[in-house]
């Protein structure tokens, strides 16, 4: 049985705890990387991570990109939407097609 984790700064994620997701408030990138590896090796199938934190953990996240589990999904934090999530989707189109033919502007 897998669980769902949420990582990011406390203000962005504390609400998710009420829904029954496990929250891991963290600000320091190296500490976050350690937690991320722990979660990924553990019993977490989905890890939501705020865009702000994900930007600092690009290298760690890309390691899990081609594995089936966990799914690491970026969500906007309380400080606003940086557009990193949408960029990620565009990037996968670019990988597959060669250039962004769907959402390119």
């Amino acid at each position: 049985m897998y669980k769902v984790a949420v990582m990011g700064d406390y203000d962005s994620i504390y609400g998710f705890a009420t829904l029954g997701l496990d929250t891991f408030p963290v600000n320091d990138p190296s500490e976050a990387a350690r937690i991320l590896h722990q979660l990924a090796d553990g019993k977490y199938g989905i890890i939501y991570i705020t865009e702000a934190l994900a930007a600092q953990l690009k290298h760690e996240i890309s390691k899990y990109q081609e594995q089936i589990s966990p799914a690491i999904i970026q969500i906007p934090g309380v400080s606003g939407n940086t557009g990193a999530g949408v960029t990620g989707v565009k990037k996968s189109v670019e990988t597959a097609v060669g250039s962004d033919i769907l959402f390119g502007e």
Binding site: V4, F16, T18, Y48, A71, I75, G88, V89
Partner: protein, 220 residues
């Protein structure tokens, strides 16, 4: 082609011909796989984008609600209210095979069936804004789970498409032309050998006849 040494023998020719047939078949199969993967990927990625926009908008408005809720009550009360969540989400991860790509299928179950168990606090000391904030977040949770599933599938399929595309290109532009070139080289070499031995035989025959009948002396 010319750089590597090929022995122009019939054995090598048969081997190369077999290799060419296999490469052609592999190329066709991989091309079909790539096309089908691409079709499914494009469908999925559109869904992914829609879901992502929906979820991002949902989280944004939920965050706004939380900020308002937080403003209306003191931090300690809020922390106490959210300290011990009643609800728990468990996730079952299944697998689905799409054109030999394993993609995850998430099925989330909550510990209790009661939808009101997301409120982990008594209503006496908290503002009603908090209830609204928690509710708005709970409403987008199904979409968030769906997003996780779709986005992961997209990432996996994109990686697989890239790999398949490289293989198709390698077969089309390297392996197959190489094999064709080799076959051409060997056939030409074999033909050449045959011609030269034919000429040699004719020459020997001429020499033997000359020995026997002395044509050149008679003509002179």
């Amino acid at each position: 082609m010319a750089s590597k040494q090929i022995t122009p023998t019939r054995m090598e020719l048969t081997k190369t011909k077999k290799k060419l047939v296999t490469a052609r078949r592999g190329h066709k199969l991989l091309k079909d796989k790539r096309d089908e993967l691409m079709r499914q990927f494009l469908e999925l990625v559109k869904e992914n984008m829609e879901l992502r926009k929906k979820v991002e908008a949902g989280i944004l408005s939920a965050n706004k609600n939380f900020v308002i809720a937080k403003a209306g009550m003191d931090e300690a009360t809020l922390n106490t209210a959210l300290m011990a969540p009643k609800q728990e989400v468990n996730l079952e991860v299944g697998h689905k095979n799409v054109m030999s790509v394993d993609i995850p299928v998430f099925h989330a179950t909550t510990r209790t069936a009661d939808a009101n168990d997301i409120y982990s606090y008594g209503f006496a000391f908290t503002s009603s804004d908090l209830d609204g904030a928690v509710k708005s977040l709970a409403d987008i949770l199904p979409d968030m789970l769906k997003l996780a599933e779709v986005e992961k599938a997209c990432q996996l399929m994109a990686a697989e498409i890239e790999k398949t595309r490289r293989r198709v290109n390698a077969l089309e532009h390297v392996t197959i032309p190489d094999a064709q070139e080799t076959i051409k080289y060997i056939t030409m070499k074999l033909d050449e050998n045959e011609r030269s031995s034919q000429i040699r035989l004719m020459k020997v025959k001429d020499m033997m006849l000359e020995e026997a009948h002395h044509y050149s002396e008679r003509e002179a």
